[in-house]
């Protein structure tokens, strides 16, 4: 060091200082490189946690709205909003959970915030009172009455809705919508006019409905009323006169399956496709189960095209509720 020139010494000192200053940063760079080459990065929980935090969907709610995805939603009244409702719909095999994050309403001043377990439209409910496990009064959960005791509310099927009224501008609420898996969906509202579904009721004494709020052509491809291996029952179910286990096709202009017209009922298992054109605003496949058997029905449906209404008798397709379009 004594033989070095002063300029060289200065350069060495400068380099040393520079390296000391970057020591932390270079270590960070090394860590980043190691992470990039980690083949198990995609399977780590840290990445999933990071994605989940980044992907929490947020937006403002409207007075009349519909949500079909998870996230955090906020409603803030810019003026008195007296008649508001938000519909929630998930996949057929999902429950919906509504969690109150923040509520700022004046209950004493006439505001309310109510969750309804299902959908209700023009006084008609889905699922109907006959198909839902709870009485109608218990399907409404009023925040002003329950408050913090019912902060998270889970639906009994893939649809739910909230009603709210807020007088004071600036008031509102924030909710988080999540979904949970439902292994044996019973009452389902279809999100789409086209699809395929298998409704299974395993040894449960309950009635299940699959609702499609479109005019559709429905094709039932498989119906099992009894054992899953397809064996015929020794004694077939005691007729479709609202007795035993059976499947019925309903059509109507409302939401409530109990107020719809019975278009067909199926009492015996079969495997061949049975097709029916239903031009009603709402089509429902409803399975009535006694709980003694494992019942299953598979069906496909697609939306009716306008031209199909012009040929009502083609392909021996029976039509109902026409003209609906």
């Amino acid at each position: 060091m004594a033989s070095m020139s002063p300029s060289f010494k200065l350069q060495c000192h400068f380099i040393l200082i520079f390296l000391v200053a970057l020591r932390g940063e270079s270590r960070y760079l090394e860590l980043r490189e190691a992470v990039d080459h980690d083949p198990f990065l995609l399977f780590g929980s840290n990445l999933k946690r990071e994605l989940a935090e980044e992907q929490l969907y947020r937006r403002a709610l409207r007075c009349l709205d519909m949500l079909s995805l998870q996230g955090q939603f906020t409603f803030t009244a810019d003026r008195p909003q007296l008649h508001c409702a938000v519909f929630f719909i998930g996949e057929p095999e999902e429950f919906i959970t509504i969690h109150y994050d923040l509520v700022s309403i004046d209950c004493q001043g006439g505001d309310f915030l109510k969750v309804f377990d299902g959908w209700i439209l023009k006084g008609e409910k889905f699922p109907s009172s006959q198909d839902h496990p709870l009485p109608t009064t218990e399907r409404y959960i009023d925040f002003c009455e329950s408050g913090l005791s019912r902060r998270s509310i889970r639906s009994s099927q893939n649809v739910a809705m909230i009603f709210f009224r807020i007088h004071e501008p600036g008031n509102g609420f924030t909710i988080t919508i999540t979904t949970n898996p439902n292994l044996f969906p019973c009452n389902v509202m279809s999100q789409t006019p086209n699809g395929r579904f298998t409704l299974v009721v395993p040894h449960q004494h309950r009635n299940c409905s699959f609702s499609i709020i479109y005019p559709v052509v429905i094709k039932i491809s498989d119906l099992t009323l009894g054992h899953l291996n397809g064996l015929q029952l020794k004694k077939p179910s005691a007729g479709c006169g609202a007795k035993g286990d059976f499947v019925e096709l309903l059509g109507g202009a409302g939401l409530d399956p109990s107020k719809m017209m019975t278009l067909a009922d199926l009492c015996y298992p079969f495997h061949g496709p049975a097709q029916m054109k239903i031009g009603c605003d709402n089509t429902v496949v409803r399975m009535v189960s006694s709980g003694k058997h494992i019942n299953r029905v598979t069906f496909e449906y697609r939306q009716l095209e306008p031209y199909e209404l012009e040929n009502p008798n083609g392909n021996s397709i029976q039509e109902f509720c026409l003209p609906a379009l």
Binding site: Q55, S68, L102, Q108, F112, K122, E168, G170, N171
Partner: protein, 196 residues
């Protein structure tokens, strides 16, 4: 000597203890005489006495109560007409019919604004066109006004919404479009992270 050492150790322990995660506050109602915005929530005492209304309530055309069997539900439409009149698609500025180029958010906002206006127009003032049934329910409503707020709220019937299937399908399709857009956005984010 030992005392400062113990105090220092206690302070260090407190600093190292994990903090509970911050949680959003659940408020019960507004502070009397002040406006609140949900983005600045105030930690209200849940058992705070109910604030007196500062301003007289503005006269509003009240919805009509209808009793059917054991169920009460509140309709937004006119009872004389039965179900609410369906909204004509032409009256709504949907993206397909509109000639101007609007962003999806603007179209959605316009749609819901027009929808809400239509729903509000369906409600008639009770004093002008009330039928016998409506007058009876209105008088019943008037008699309840002096009852405590909590009793009135507990007696309120379950509510529903008057909406045609056509509009329900429209909002459903909008929700589906939003879901697909969000899924596409999530997929894009995932690819960005994987590609780093």
């Amino acid at each position: 000597m030992r005392l400062p050492l113990l105090v220092s150790a206690g302070v260090v322990l407190l600093a190292l203890l994990p903090c509970p995660p911050c949680r959003a506050l659940l408020s019960r109602g507004p502070v009397p005489g002040a406006r609140q915005a949900p983005q600045l929530p105030q930690a209200l005492d849940f058992f705070q006495p109910p604030p007196q209304p500062q301003q007289p309530q503005q006269p509003q055309a009240r919805p009509v109560l209808l009793r059917m069997g054991e169920e009460y539900f509140l309709r937004l439409g006119n009872l004389n007409k039965g179900p609410a009149a369906p909204l004509s698609p032409a009256s709504l500025p949907l993206a397909g019919s509109s000639g101007s180029r609007l962003s999806p958010d603007e179209v959605t906002a316009n749609f819901f604004r027009a929808l809400l206006q239509q729903l509000l127009l369906l409600r008639r003032p009770l004093d002008s066109s009330a039928g016998p049934t409506e007058r009876g329910t209105e008088s019943a409503l008037g008699g309840r006004q002096e009852a405590p707020e909590r009793e009135r709220r507990s007696e309120e019937p379950p509510i529903s919404l008057d909406l045609t299937f056509h509009l329900l399908r429209e909002v459903l399709e909008m929700a589906r479009a939003e879901q697909l857009a969000q899924q596409a956005h999530s997929n894009r984010k995932l690819m960005e992270i994987i590609g780093k």
